[in-house]
């Protein structure tokens, strides 16, 4: 039995321009993505009766919240019967899974799901909060890391990566194959931020951020928005495109929501989420034609490779050495658009967009040179994770 009884399908996708310092607002970008996706699904904005987004109106540094569901409903004059945003959800695609549930239970028919960011423009405008503001105090989970200088996910995730290297002997060169693979694929993606070839020497000599992470282990902030349309299967419009079904959706979170208390430091919530996903389907990792795996940091992609079962726990290092295996023309292409490391931090939704583009054969110069029917998409890092198994129907 598929996710939500197979009642819901992906019918359209859209994406704004993606770039550095585009000088445009996050709502503006979100509307570009939304209108493109609605038209792609063969729908009219008047057909949209649900809206979902991540993260919603949270307090965050500049450009992280490009647009809220209210912004997009207002701007497009949408008449909706269901809307949701949130951060307390399994990864950036969490509310998209909820949108599918909402459709399956009759609360909406066509839901616009989106993520918009303008972090590059916001940084250029100096809107990122200065961390040295003397009056500022660290609350929430930051309470237990900011006072120690552990200011960034780069630090928190580096702690996991170092432990993994210690236990399994992962090398810098093996880890570096993730950004190198992304960069090779990004050369064929006209929207990618970094498209110039990168060598292992370039990677290893880049500026240190938080060991073992250097600059190209960390994704690149950008401006851009992505939208996905979910429709009730029997209401999907004639778009000339086979619907994409959600074969399974992993939203399992089995441990505490912390960045440092997970019992096994060499796994992450991705493992819970992947476990939950595979429980729902008779398909196995061997059935997956390609994978789009969150790489906000290189090490997160490694975690997804293991979590989703593409190699055994602890064996990602040797797996990564076999670069031909996961190249665009390999048996399991990974991050075919460049990932966030090269294509820009579209914050999760970029992977979903790319998976659909490939499944529909609309990826242009970077189209995988074989028929692809099943895609695995893993989104999130640390205690945040959600994953989807997508299946093109016909």
């Amino acid at each position: 039995m598929s996710f939500v009884d197979d009642k819901v399908v992906i019918t359209g996708i859209g994406q704004s321009d993606v770039g550095r310092k585009l000088g445009r607002g996050g709502v503006d970008l979100a509307l570009d993505a939304a209108l493109e996706a609605i038209a792609h699904a063969g729908l009219d904005p008047a057909d949209i009766d649900g809206v979902a987004s991540y993260p919603g109106p949270v307090v965050a540094e500049g450009g992280f919240v490009g647009a809220t569901t209210h912004d997009v409903r207002d701007a497009l004059g949408l008449r909706t019967t269901w809307a949701l945003s949130g951060v307390e959800t399994p990864g950036q695609a969490g509310t998209l899974m909820d949108a599918a549930s909402a459709i399956a239970t009759g609360r909406a028919t066509h839901v616009l799901c989106f993520r918009s960011v303008f972090e590059s423009t916001a940084q250029a405008q100096g809107r990122a909060a200065a961390l040295t503001g003397k009056q500022m105090r660290a609350g929430g989970h930051a309470e237990f890391r900011m006072p120690f200088g552990a200011a960034s996910p780069a630090n928190w995730i580096a702690l996991y990566a170092m432990r993994y290297m210690h236990e399994f002997g992962l090398t810098r060169e093996q880890l570096g194959q993730i950004p190198l693979n992304g960069r090779r694929n990004a050369a064929r993606n006209p929207k990618a931020i970094y498209r110039d070839p990168m060598t292992m020497d370039d990677y290893l000599s880049a500026r240190l951020i938080s060991y073992p992470f250097r600059l190209y282990d960390c994704d690149v902030p950008c401006d851009g928005a992505t939208a996905i349309i979910l429709s009730r299967r029997d209401a999907a419009a004639e778009s000339g495109r086979a619907p994409i079904a959600i074969e399974a959706a992993g939203s399992g979170l089995y441990e505490r929501h912390t960045w440092d208390q997970r019992v096994d430091l060499t796994t992450m919530a991705a493992h819970d989420s992947a476990h939950h996903m595979w429980e729902q389907t008779s398909l196995t990792p061997a059935d997956v034609d390609f994978a789009e795996l969150y790489d906000g940091f290189s090490y997160l992609c490694l975690q997804w490779i293991e979590a989703l079962g593409f190699c055994k726990h602890g064996e990602a290092g040797p797996f990564l050495e076999e670069t031909a295996r996961y190249a665009l023309d390999g048996e399991l292409p990974i991050n075919t658009h460049g990932g966030q490391l090269s294509a820009g931090r579209l914050h999760g939704y970029g992977f979903l967009h790319e998976a659909c583009l490939q499944l529909w054969g609309e990826a242009g110069e970077r189209q995988i040179p074989k028929d692809v029917e099943i895609a695995a998409v893993g989104i999130g890092g640390g205690p945040e994770a959600g994953c989807l198994l997508l299946r093109r129907d016909g």
Partner: protein, 143 residues
């Protein structure tokens, strides 16, 4: 490594007050469950393992083992927090499943190793005592 001139201080809560002020008495105070006797962090009003509400902060020895670390090079806080510095993840001697993210101080970053023994040291800033960790001093060595 020099200690930073600036630390972003925590928003102390009812749950975390003991953790942030125990240093005034030279004590590292960690939440402990009186039902199952196990420790946990960050502090919360229930034991996540056995769900008992009978929990309270209690002093631990301050000894720990370094489970992981990263040498941070990016100046997130500008010049006020000089780089490089070592962010560490330490496991308490009393309860290795209970970890603190902290800073490893008073040693050459080149000497930091996973598995090394460390001990707590407190830095007093305003109303909080920040528990940082340094390599454990051996008995015969002058501190």
């Amino acid at each position: 490594m020099t200690r930073p001139a600036f630390r972003m201080l925590p928003e102390v809560t009812a749950d975390s007050a003991a953790f942030w002020t125990g240093g005034a008495d030279g004590e590292l105070r960690i939440h402990r469950c009186h039902a199952c006797s196990r420790w946990f962090h960050p502090p919360a009003p229930a034991c996540f393992r056995c769900r008992s509400r009978d929990v309270a902060p209690e002093a631990v020895s301050g000894r720990a083992t370094l489970a992981s670390y990263t040498l941070n090079h990016h100046p997130w806080f500008g010049e006020a927090f000089p780089v490089p510095y070592v962010v560490g993840l330490v496991e308490l001697a009393e309860e290795p499943d209970t970890r603190l993210t902290t800073q490893i101080v008073d040693c050459d970053p080149a000497d930091v190793r996973i598995g090394m023994d460390v001990e707590v040291d407190f830095e007093h800033h305003d109303d909080v005592w920040v528990p940082v960790f340094r390599p454990t001093s051996t008995g015969g060595q002058a501190s």
